[in-house]
């Protein structure tokens, strides 16, 4: 039975949420796999790449620019309202203003966040995943808090296919920490699939022989593809008894998937992402924060309008205040995540935050006008020199693009590239 609960100060950052922060941050995790993977990590750290994980976080309705961009430039700026919850980590992140992809406007082009100038094309996280993702169990992971209805996908493959997002924390949890029965099912599916494949291929070979040579040649595509499936199955079968990470982290017995529990879902997803990074289960994670008509309540008082309604604030100061209160609530959740990554240390003393780049942004610059220019952007961790507000004057010739920042991030992750979408430089001069 779920306890009756009264509305707490921040929607979703309820007692459960706070407790989970503490638990996940604490030493409650039994992690046999950690020691065994310690060696390869140490090796990776000595190579040219100084960061090895990428977490990209995108808010569908954007971040209200005036409450996100600091007034002062450089170090020692005063934290603006939205970022105030991150005060403990001010020297662990950098705020960027004046960057975007020069992409089309509107909700429909939202995916420019990670795709750059052309929405729905090869996204930055997938470029990274294709380069470094294979080193972990899940080459990349896509998560959403909320239904994911706003944008069907945030990450896109090389061929422009939008990747589905996991909405239920329990589903992601089951993937990370497989139960015995899940494992048995997976093993059954692999073994039965692998053993019957021979017969299907026998039949396919007979088919090939029955058709004219040129048609049979066309079938080589089929045999090649099947061989690749076969290899993948064999690899998985050979790894089936590899120890999987375990945890005593517990999820609530109901997934917070309704829109009003957005913040609660965020907290759980952040906890799970921290666990995924700690166990090196995945190095490339993308997290979408949806926004619909849900009305949040703070201190028992519902806001003036639903989240989406507030984003169309028309410069009404009270609407903006309510909107910003939601956005700072997102930052409270993020703050918990940064805190966990900072506290958790590898055997070599390096924190998870040092080896993880966290990109926080959006594809929408100003939801009130549906403009996708000047995208609020924040980068934390990854061993960069942080603590500044880097303001780019878009009017200047040669002003860097958001893609130039992405190039710097990718290089830090060991991806050798000098271009991304419409960008072909980097921001290493300004940010390293």
């Amino acid at each position: 039975m779920l306890p009756m609960r009264t509305q707490t100060n921040l929607p979703g950052v309820s007692t459960i949420g706070r407790r989970q922060f503490l638990r996940a941050a604490g030493a409650l995790i039994a992690l046999p796999a950690l020691e065994s993977i310690a060696a390869p990590i140490a090796k990776a750290a000595t190579s040219t790449a100084s960061a090895k994980n990428l977490v990209s976080i995108g808010a569908y309705l954007g971040w209200h620019q005036k409450a996100f961009f600091p007034k002062e430039v450089g170090k020692g700026y005063h934290l603006p309202t939205t970022l105030a919850p991150l005060a403990d980590h001010q020297n662990d992140f950098t705020v960027f203003s004046g960057l975007d992809h020069r992409a089309p406007n509107g909700h429909g082009a939202w995916s420019n966040f990670l795709c750059g100038n052309a929405p729905n094309t090869y996204s930055m996280d997938q470029i990274v995943a294709d380069q470094i993702g294979q080193k972990s169990r899940f080459p990349s992971v896509q998560l959403t808090a909320g239904t994911g209805e706003g944008s069907k996908a945030m990450s896109f493959t090389k061929r422009g296919i939008g990747l589905p997002m996991i909405q239920r924390p329990s589903v992601f949890y089951k993937q990370l920490f497989m139960s015995e029965s899940d494992k048995a099912r997976m093993e059954y599916m692999l073994r039965s699939g692998r053993s019957s494949l021979d017969l299907v291929l026998d039949d396919a070979t007979r088919l090939k022989k029955s058709v004219p040579q040129s048609d049979g040649d066309k079938l080589e595509e089929y045999f090649d593809s099947m061989r690749s499936v076969e290899k993948r199955m064999e690899r998985q079968i050979s790894q089936i008894n590899d120890p999987l990470p375990t945890t005593d982290y517990k999820l609530p017995d109901s997934d917070p998937i309704t829109p009003n529990l957005l913040m609660e879902a965020e907290v759980l997803m952040y906890d799970l992402m921290a666990l995924a990074i700690e166990t090196d289960s995945s190095r490339v994670l993308s997290f979408f924060i949806d926004g619909l008509g849900q009305v949040f309540s703070f201190d028992g008082q519902p806001l003036r309008s639903g989240y989406h309604g507030l984003s169309h604030h028309g410069n009404d100061p009270e609407m903006i205040r309510d909107l910003v209160s939601i956005e700072s609530a997102h930052m409270v959740c993020l703050n918990g995540f940064l805190g966990q990554l900072k506290e958790k240390k590898r055997p070599n003393g390096k924190s998870l935050l040092d080896e993880t780049i966290i990109l926080v942004g959006t594809g929408m610059g100003d939801a009130s006008r549906h403009s996708n220019a000047n995208l609020p952007t924040l980068v934390a961790g990854g061993g960069f020199n942080h603590g500044s507000h880097i303001a780019i004057d878009q009017g200047k010739q040669d002003a860097p693009l958001l893609g130039d920042l992405y190039i710097s991030l990718m290089q830090r992750l060991g991806v050798e590239t000098n271009e991304f979408s419409n960008a072909s430089r980097n921001m290493n001069q300004l940010f390293s």
Partner: protein, 901 residues
């Protein structure tokens, strides 16, 4: 190509000698071939004159030599093309393709380049006549390679095979690449490892749907949700004094319903449900009625309430809490949904405006407060609808109401502000926002329904949920009935003998059946039960090449291939039983029967898969979702949808009514909504049409509207969807529209731009219009060849802005638009109406173009030279017979081209 030379000159010469011959050939040829032959020697001469002719007759060679070979000989090889050949093996497809290309560019005048010396008409004709003859004589009809199902076909095949009509491919399923404008062309349908993985995944999911994996028995739990555990969206509910108030009724759940956010049932069963509620500040005596429904927690918040199963209507008679307890079935993933059925206020157009009107008549002070809120300037110069929302709007309204200085002077029912307000309240711009504000009036003043608490205990008993019920139905369909006493093996053999031919769309031999039976037997040998074997069989059948591929049969296109071709063409789905029966009897290839079956399967509705898939790919309207018109054009998302539907209705109307081909260009009707026609097509009869057809359905329903022929609007060339798809949402690009018309209407696609074209950096100082900017194309030699044909066609459509609205001036500069242009044959065109009338007079260009697209889509190959000739004949004959579109479709289906592999 050089290797074929040896084949032709089988004269006992060494290869080296051949080469010498070749290099001197062009020069020698200009004199007489005999000289060449005599050079080679007497024996060879004899042989050659007896067996081999020179490949290019003198007359044609002279034209080639004078106009083509300067660039396209062995030495120059411009564009990798050498036409100076000593022999041509017409049996090779590569050679035919080369000469087909030469034929096309010569015929359409793309070659020689504009700046070069041009052959006269007679010379051009000589060359073309020779190629016509040669190509026709040597090009066999047919040639589609075996092809896997396209993603769309694959989805429909699964739908039809397993009777899962709403099945959708999982998100992340690889997309098909477009080839020659369509996603179902053989050459483009390659199979790759990621796609094979996706097939494998889908096979597992389908097997799991039919035979769901076993799950643990659920524990008995009790869950309670109070007012603070409920979802509040928009102004649907508000918590006041520890109870949740519901105040409105509406269709979409996020406007007027509430549901517990943490009470998702994890397994299907019977549950004991307890709900308590009370009246809040009632204004009337009867009971309030609370609807309790079962909602899927993962369903969209935009869902309509009535799609969810009604569990109970609860009477709430008094302001003292009433509690009811009842038992009901709840299925996995569901929670409770609450709606106050007889609320005063409805989120519903007609009812809402009426509600406001009645209210204002009773209380003019509220009218004045609303006027003040929505029209802050006291007149129509500023209208606030979307900015004031929810509580914000309510606070503003309430403040105005309580302001002693509130201006009451205009609070009469006939004032223009009142009229405008009621008009807004009757439209989606105003209604939702006003209603959201008004909810707060009820939260404050009542009446409202107080929700106190809901409890779910269970499952008291496990029941089959939709998942289990569906699985049982699908199992039954997959296995059929077991003959009493039949062994698992015999039963499975029956299943395979029946199911495999359906899945593979043709008869299946005994060996294949045994192979699949072995899969089941092995499973049993390893301890699996009957269901486990069926699960495994489904997984394997769906990854067999016999399922994934079409056209994998020995020899020519047989009746089964034909059944698939016809069915996938017209319905995007596999052949039905009737077609397979006809194929089995060998009757389908009978043209009469084929025609009859085509008529049976021909699309009937604009929503049919063929209409949507074909039109969106042919006309590029599948680009619309990615084009976001600039807000200055005021082209709403709803309008984009209507524009897309218009194309489908238009196509479907011409097809089903067998209207003449000319109606595609200059019809006597629009197929859209009166409002859309009025806003976008300057349609003056809109009001009349709306009145006349109001009985036909809702405002947003598309309908046939009468139109005078010969105007600027009407037909494909002015439809919003097309004009939007051929622009980029911000400005128009004459080049895009020019290419589009050449490719999709005239059927004269320009060859692709040469490789390594440098980006133009023209001197644009003083250029004010796209026409002036594009002048650089025609002054630049390498571009001019094609752009002298492309750009002038595009200019004709410049009167249509990026969403297809008429304009006379360029935006910003205000310079009048000059829509004059030229057709590829040099015909001057004054404007779009003249373009349309030219097309009507020369309708075969269009008919041929559309026919080729249809044949490409249907057969999965681009028609070759001989096939185009056949199509040309069909088009001409069809014109003689009234030029009906349906007739043309049927003639194409019974053509040799369609009936050949």
């Amino acid at each position: 190509m050089r290797s074929h030379i040896t084949n032709a000159l089988v004269v006992g010469l060494s290869l080296t000698t051949c080469r010498i011959v070749l290099t001197t050939y062009a020069a020698l040829r200009k004199r007489r071939p005999y000289i060449l032959l005599s050079c080679i020697g007497a024996t060879s001469t004899l042989y050659l004159s007896a067996k081999t002719e020179l490949p290019i007759p003198d007359a044609a060679y002279e034209v080639l030599s004078n106009y083509c070979l300067d660039c396209h000989d062995e030495a120059e090889m411009k564009g990798d093309v050498n036409l100076d050949l000593i022999s041509i093996d017409w049996g090779q497809k590569d050679n035919r393709d080369l000469w087909e290309k030469a034929h096309y560019v010569a015929k359409e005048g793309f070659m020689p380049p504009a700046k070069k010396r041009q052959p006269n008409e007679k010379e051009r004709a000589t060359l073309i006549r020779w190629l016509d003859g040669k190509l026709l004589e040597n090009t066999p009809i047919g040639g589609t390679p075996p092809r896997r199902l396209s993603a769309d076909e694959y989805r429909s095949t699964i739908r039809s095979l397993f009777d899962l009509p709403d099945y959708e491919l999982p998100l992340g399923f690889p997309k098909d690449s477009e080839f020659h404008g369509f996603n179902n062309v053989g050459e483009g349908l390659v199979l790759s490892p990621p796609l094979m993985e996706a097939y494998n995944k889908v096979a597992e999911l389908i097997a799991d749907t039919i035979y769901p994996p076993a799950r643990k028995a659920p524990p008995l739990t009790t869950r309670t949700a109070g007012p603070n555990d409920m979802v509040l969206s928009f102004s649907a509910g508000k918590v006041v004094d520890d109870s949740l108030l519901l105040v409105s009724r509406g269709h979409e759940i996020f406007r007027s319903c509430s549901w517990p956010s943490r009470m998702e049932v994890m397994s299907s069963g019977t549950y004991r449900i307890t709900v308590s509620a009370a009246k809040h500040k009632p204004t009337w005596g009867g009971p309030m009625k609370l609807e309790i429904r079962a909602r899927e927690l993962s369903a969209s918040d935009r869902s309509r309430a009535d799609i969810f199963r009604l569990l109970k209507v609860m009477d709430v008679p008094s302001t003292e809490p009433t509690t009811i307890t009842f038992e009901a079935e709840l299925y996995e993933g569901q929670t409770l949904l609450f709606r106050w059925m007889n609320a005063d206020m409805a989120h519903d157009y007609t009812k809402f405006a009426k509600h406001m009107e009645e209210w204002f008549e009773k209380d003019p002070r509220w009218l004045a407060a609303w006027q003040h809120t929505v029209f802050p300037n006291g007149d129509l110069s500023k209208i606030r609808t979307s900015v004031i929302r929810g509580r914000s709007g309510w606070e503003f309204l309430n403040k105005a109401f309580n302001d002693p200085n509130l201006d009451m002077s205009r609070a009469t029912m006939d004032d223009e502000l009142t009229v405008k307000f009621l008009e807004l309240a009757d439209s989606d711009t105003g209604m939702f926002n006003f209603a959201d504000i008004l909810c707060h009036y009820y939260f404050t003043n009542g009446p409202a329904l107080e929700f106190h608490q809901a409890t779910i205990e269970g499952p008291l008993k496990t029941v089959d949920g939709p998942r289990e019920m569906l699985a049982k139905k699908l199992q039954k369909r997959f296995t059929g009935n077991r003959i009493p006493g039949q062994s698992d093996e015999a039963f499975t053999r029956d299943i395979l003998e029946r199911f495999l031919p359906q899945a593979f769309r043709r008869p299946v031999d005994q060996e294949t059946i045994e192979t699949y039976l072995d899969i089941a037997k092995r499973r049993w040998a390893q301890g699996g039960d009957f269901d486990a074997a069926m699960h495994l069989l489904i997984r394997n059948i769906l990854i067999s090449p016999r399922f994934i591929y079409r056209l994998l049969s020995p020899g020519e296109l047989d009746d089964y291939d034909l059944a698939s071709r016809l069915s996938y063409f017209l319905t995007q789905a596999p052949p039905d039983k009737k077609l397979l029966d006809l194929a089995q009897k060998g009757k389908l290839s009978d043209p009469q029967i084929l025609r009859r079956e085509a008529l049976r399967l021909l699309p009937q509705k604009p929503t049919d898969a063929m209409v949507q898939s074909f039109t969106s790919q042919w006309l590029d309207t599948n680009l619309l979702p990615e084009i976001m018109p600039d807000p200055v054009f005021k082209f709403s998302e709803a309008e984009i949808t209507i524009a897309e539907e218009e194309v489908e209705h238009f196509f479907s109307e011409i097809l089903t009514q067998n209207l003449p081909m000319t109606d595609f260009i200059d019809p006597d009707f629009h197929y859209t909504t009166p409002a859309f026609a009025k806003d976008n097509y300057q349609y003056s009869q809109a009001e009349k049409a709306a009145m006349k057809s109001s009985s036909m359905g809702s405002e947003s329903e598309l309908r046939k509207l009468p139109l005078d022929r010969g105007g600027r609007y009407g037909g494909l060339l002015s439809q919003s969807a097309v004009m939007t798809a051929t622009a980029n949402g911000v400005d128009t690009q004459p080049v895009l529209r020019g290419v589009w018309v050449l490719e999709n209407i005239l059927g004269m696609p320009p060859p692709p731009p040469p490789k390594n074209v440098p980006a133009l950096t023209p001197d644009t100082r003083g250029a004010n219009t796209p026409r002036e900017l594009l002048a650089a194309h025609t002054s630049e030699d390498s571009c001019a060849t094609c752009h002298v044909r492309i750009d002038p066609v595009g200019f004709v459509l410049e009167n249509f802005d990026p969403v297809g609205n008429w304009r006379e001036e360029w935006p910003k500069t205000g310079i009048p638009i000059d829509p004059t242009g030229t057709l590829p044959d040099g015909t001057p065109i004054k404007d779009v109406t003249e373009l349309k009338s030219w097309l009507v007079d020369h309708i075969d260009f269009f008919s041929l173009c559309l026919s080729e697209k249809l044949v490409t889509y249907a057969t999965g190959r681009v028609p070759n030279f001989a096939e185009r000739k056949e199509i040309e004949t069909i088009v001409h004959q069809n014109r003689e017979k009234g030029n009906g579109f349906q007739d043309l479709m049927l003639a194409l289906i019974t053509s040799e081209t369609f009936r050949t592999k």
